[in-house]
């Protein structure tokens, strides 16, 4: 019966430099969480390959890395400013510092490497530990005062002594000037030496060691911008096959490209698209069908796509329709008009697989997130908020009802808060640990351990029948 999640830790990510905490305003929001500084809003969440580290990026251009302690909790490991606001003088455009995506590189050596990107520039960061310090100068004493030269009679070679662990983040490479539009995705190839970066119209291929050159592999830009009919929304490499990449577009299609066939991948190998029933077409059909996220399953066989109302699972071998379709918030069908007016309809929800590809998770409004068990077809709605996420408290399923409330705990569609949305989620690659970003809060939930210390099989508590 249980995919019973309890709160592992919830961290308000107001990780400003320490001195800011002394200011009154910051303190207010630290304790009461009333005012949220827009710069603290989390814009991406990503576990590394082992799940030992979790990185978040925010609108203020900061990256915060959490490390899992032996006891199982995640604590802040390193925080650094990845991107700064810039101004493009040629185009007279402001470039936001907001981190759009973070991707970890496979482990190289004791240090950790990750790529982070804002709208224009991708950076490669190295996060390393230092636990030794050189001591002993010839011309100065330990306090840094100059020694009397007459006392120097021998040369001293510095000696390394242990010191408190210091975690440093250093920028290793800056991949700039290759995108005319806003970068929406980055993805590391399974060959571990190349990665792609995708903006609204183009996908570029980079070598991780080369910053001054990239190859354009997909270009959707028409000769005349008035003919523009679609934009690239996400692009991702296949987890095992170095030559396969998938990218999705605002028209609701997802294309699979084979980089072996040609240097330019403008012609796709496969096109995943579901025919829309013409009778159900409306003004909003195209907007809600825009794909906001694409994820290959860990096995590499399936593609998970998220559009505004559904998540779909596609078998790479079947292009004409998805093998599974799950409704995320079907009750919004009738509300599309007001969602359009508030621009909410353009929200880009992400989706994610669990480690064994058996469960799918994606976000929704009102700080709700949804999980779907593929085998049992059960689904659950859970809430991530300060009120319910007491430490070690077990999450209770939520239910949104369209008409009259049937239970005390039911929530009416009309009372959903559309400003509270969960766009970014991540799943630990091996265990049932999930990370949910809600505004400036990061929630980490873990499946409850059975007495013998093993995790339960991920089985979702069924929602009451409708």
């Amino acid at each position: 019966y249980s995919f019973v999640l309890f709160c592992l830790c919830s961290v308000p990510l107001c990780l400003r430099p320490m001195q800011v905490f002394t200011k009154t305003k910051s303190e207010i929001y630290l304790f009461f969480n009333l005012v949220c500084d827009p710069a603290d809003v989390i814009s991406t969440v990503e576990f590394n390959q082992t799940g030992e580290f979790l990185a978040t990026g925010d609108k203020g251009g900061r990256v915060v890395i959490f490390q899992r302690e032996p006891q199982g909790e995640y604590n802040v490991y390193s925080t650094f400013q990845s991107h700064e606001p810039e101004f493009d003088y040629l185009k007279s455009l402001e470039i936001e510092e907001k981190i759009n995506k973070i991707r970890w590189l496979p482990p190289h050596n004791p240090a950790h490497f990750l790529l982070s990107t804002n709208d224009k520039t991708v950076k490669l960061w190295k996060v390393s530990e230092k636990d030794k310090r050189a001591e002993g100068y010839n011309l100065r004493d330990e306090e840094g005062r100059l020694k009397d030269l007459s006392t120097i009679t021998t040369l001293q070679v510095p000696v390394l002594r242990p010191m408190d662990l210091l975690v440093e983040a250093s920028p290793r490479r800056v991949f700039a000037n290759a995108h005319a539009y806003h970068i929406n995705s980055i993805s590391v190839n399974s060959d571990c030496e190349t990665y792609l970066s995708a903006d609204d119209l183009r996908i570029n291929l980079w070598h991780l060691n080369i910053t001054d050159r990239s190859f354009n592999i997909v270009d959707l830009k028409p000769e005349n911008m008035e003919d523009l009919s679609e934009v690239i929304t996400v692009a991702e490499f296949h987890p095992h096959h170095c030559h396969l990449l998938a990218f999705s577009s605002s028209t609701g299609t997802t294309r699979l490209c084979d980089m072996r066939a040609r240097a330019l991948c403008d012609q796709h190998a496969k096109l995943f698209e579901e025919a829309v029933d013409p009778s159900r077409r409306s003004f909003f059909s195209e907007i809600v069908s825009s794909v906001s996220d694409v994820k290959f399953s860990h096995s590499g066989r399936y593609l998970l796509t998220r559009d505004y109302l559904t998540v779909k699972v596609w078998d790479l071998n079947m292009e004409n329709k998805p093998v599974e379709t799950y409704q995320v918030h079907d009750y919004l069908q009738t509300k599309l008009c007001s969602l359009y007016e508030s621009d909410c309809i353009f929200d880009k929800f992400e989706c994610t697989w669990n480690g064994t590809d058996s469960v799918i998770m994606t976000g929704a409004y009102n700080n709700y997130f949804r999980m779907f068990d593929r085998a049992s077809l059960r689904d659950v709605t859970l809430e991530a908020s300060r009120e319910v996420c007491k430490r070690r408290a077990v999450l209770q399923p939520r239910r949104v009802c369209v008409g009259k409330k049937r239970k005390e705990t039911d929530v009416s569609v009309d009372s959903l808060d559309f400003r509270k949305k969960i766009l970014h989620t991540a799943w630990h690659p091996k265990e049932n640990i999930i990370a949910i970003a809600a505004s400036n809060n990061l929630y980490i939930f873990q499946d409850r351990l059975t007495p013998n210390g093993h995790h339960n099989m991920p089985e979702i508590q069924s929602a009451p029948p409708k």
Binding site: P106, T153, T154, P158, D191, H240
Partner: protein
């Protein structure tokens, strides 16, 4: 090292040592680059016991510092006490061989390879071989990739006399095999790229029994990047094997690579085609490589066709002599014909840069009949680069059939390039002008091309005007001074009266370039009067260029002309209103030693400051 006078001599070294840890990367780098000085001052003993342990742990530094360190350690043998102690250098290099930055690792491996030569066979076995094994079984891919590059150097030198040789070798092969099937593509790539080198140091039997299976496995790796590196290994291995084994052992794999699904692998095959051809010999070339090459020339990916097109000439040249012509005519030429009208400009331009070379191989008749039409098509290609590549290689055709055959088509092509809207294209064609002039002969040149060369002199882009003056000089070198006097000089001098000052300056620049090649007579008689007349030009830029020009042509003139004509003009310019004119006039005067000092001082027209200036430059110049 300590002593009574220690302070003074120790100080610079103490500074260097302290700066190994300076905050400023540049200072650390400087200090690392003088590591030998530090080691020398410390002596071999302290270098081994103190400096090297410190360096072993300083792998947290910036890449450039680590790179410099890795390089320094490669030539540190003497500083640690000679070959006897060379193994002390292994720990710091080992830690450098595991850092994440590829260039640093590569440098560390290079240094390790270097110092491996300085190890005695026993040390190699006791210290070096275990290091390679440690790296090969390291936790991180960085150390394992570094290990790949070390197998090739350490095993040949483990003495055959030592009883462990056989077992060492077997473990080496075993380690290498493990690396070839590593989990990470990075290590497999490194193994793939070093496989050929490792094969070279092994005995043939080992190559056949152990290396071939590894090669076959790497060549069918799931990662494109591994497979493409295996192509190069295949070429090296093929060169090692006797002819009779090639067919069974490597050809199936290489054939498969030439038809790989991934264009990057096929590109690699095309790129390495001439090496491959050399390695497999004439028989296999005839039977296997010719069809493979045809396929590469017809490949669906333009990048592959480009690489193959680049190899057309070399491939044809190295075909076995007895059947060369038939193979080219029946197999290669049809593909080449198709490439001439390829849709991709890079393919066409690659072909254009080598196609002319085929004429020497095919001889006059075939060239006229088969190649000439292709040249003519390419000369009319829509992309300037294609046309330029044809024009730049005209000399090959000239030797075989003479250029007359082409000249009718050549001319419109040249004219079009000469008037291209992109100045870089114009610049490129100017650079081929002297070559063309040599090939086409003076008559044709005068008739058709001379006017173009003159037109460039008044181009609106300075780089073109500059190249055009340089071009004139080269033409005069080719055709002689008399030709210059009749054709070029009058036109150049005519521009001195142009209303545009830029054109008037071009006259001066041309004179600068031409005076030497035209000789004293023409310079004195024709050019000098024009230059002197321009000294009264309204535009200061022209006037100071007159001064510079006079300085430039001074050595060509005789002394009487200098004294009688140049001197008064320069003296006048030295009193010019304009600062720059004054400056260059004085510079010219002092540069040419035109006058001896007394005359100069008594000259009334000079101001005090210019005299000072003169003194200054005079005292400096001799």
């Amino acid at each position: 090292m300590a002593g009574a006078e220690g302070d003074d001599s120790l100080y610079p070294i103490a500074v260097l040592i302290d700066e190994l840890r300076n905050e400023d990367v540049q200072l650390r780098l400087n200090s690392i680059k003088k590591l030998s000085t530090i080691a020398l001052a410390l002596g071999v003993e302290r270098t081994r016991t103190e400096l090297l342990p410190f360096l072993t742990d300083t792998i947290y530094d910036e890449d450039e510092v680590l790179l410099a360190l890795a390089e320094q350690l490669g030539s540190f043998t003497v500083l640690v006490g000679g070959p006897e102690f060379v193994h002390c250098l292994l720990p710091p290099l080992e830690s450098l061989a595991t850092v994440e930055e590829t260039v640093v690792r590569d440098k560390a491996v290079e240094s390790l390879r270097k110092i491996s030569q300085e190890h005695s066979p026993v040390d190699l076995e006791v210290h070096f071989v275990p290091l390679v094994k440690r790296l090969a079984s390291g936790d991180w891919f960085t150390s394992r990739t570094s290990a790949c590059g070390l197998f090739g150097v350490c095993y040949p030198r483990v003495s055959i006399m030592t009883h462990t040789f056989e077992s060492t070798l077997i473990t080496a092969v075993m380690h290498f095999r493990t690396l070839c099937s590593d989990d990470t593509p990075m290590v497999r790539r490194a193994a793939s790229s070093k496989l050929g080198e490792f094969a070279k140091v092994l005995e043939l039997d080992y190559v056949k029994s152990d290396i071939i299976p590894l090669f076959t496995a790497l060549a069918s790796d799931e990662q494109d990047s591994v497979r493409l590196l295996a192509v190069e290994a295949g070429v090296s291995i093929a060169a090692l094997l006797p002819q009779e084994d090639l067919e069974d052992l490597v050809m199936p794999t290489l054939r498969q690579a030439a038809e790989d699904k991934s264009w990057r692998v096929r590109y690699m095959v095309a790129d390495k085609f001439s090496e491959l051809q050399k390695a497999v010999g004439p028989e296999i070339t005839k039977n296997d490589l010719v069809p493979a090459f045809q396929n590469l020339l017809k490949d669906c990916e333009a990048e592959v066709r480009t690489a193959a097109a680049n190899k057309v000439k070399v491939f044809c040249e190295s075909l076995p002599e007895d059947s060369r012509e038939t193979i080219i005519m029946t197999h290669i030429l049809p593909c080449v014909k198709e490439l001439v009208s390829d849709t991709n400009q890079h393919v066409k331009s690659a072909l254009a840069s080598v196609i002319m070379g085929l004429s020497t191989i095919l001889g006059k008749d075939n060239t006229v009949e088969h190649l000439l039409p292709l040249f003519l098509v390419q000369l009319k290609d829509e992309y300037p680069e294609v046309r330029l590549n044809i024009i730049s290689n005209l000399d090959c055709v000239n030797e075989v059939i003479g250029i007359r055959q082409l000249s009718q088509s050549l001319l419109p092509a040249i004219v079009e390039l000469a008037e291209d809207a992109k100045w870089r294209v114009r610049l490129a064609i100017i650079e081929y002008m002297p070559l063309l002039a040599g090939q086409l002969g003076v008559e044709f040149f005068d008739e058709k091309l001379n006017s173009l060369c003159m037109a460039w002199l008044i181009d609106h882009v300075y780089a073109i005007r500059e190249a055009a003056t340089c071009n004139l000089m080269k033409l005069v070198e080719k055709f002689g001074a008399e030709w210059a006097q009749n054709t070029i000089v009058p036109k150049v001098l005519g521009m001195a009266n142009d209303s545009n000052y830029l054109h008037r300056m071009t006259t001066l620049f041309c004179i600068n370039a031409l005076s030497e090649v035209c000789g004293q007579e023409i310079t004195t008689k024709h050019m000098l009067p024009v230059v002197l007349k321009m000294s009264t030009d309204q535009v200061a830029n022209v006037r100071f260029n007159v001064a510079r020009c006079l300085q430039k042509i001074g050595p060509v003139l005789d002394s009487s002309a200098l004294q009688a004509e140049v001197k008064p003009v320069l003296e006048k310019l030295a009193t010019d209103q304009d600062m720059d004119v004054k400056y260059f006039a004085l510079e010219a005067i002092s540069g040419m030693y035109l006058f001896n000092l007394p005359t100069y001082i008594f000259s009334e027209t000079f101001s005090f400051s210019s005299i000072l200036f003169f003194f200054f430059s005079f005292s400096l110049s001799p």
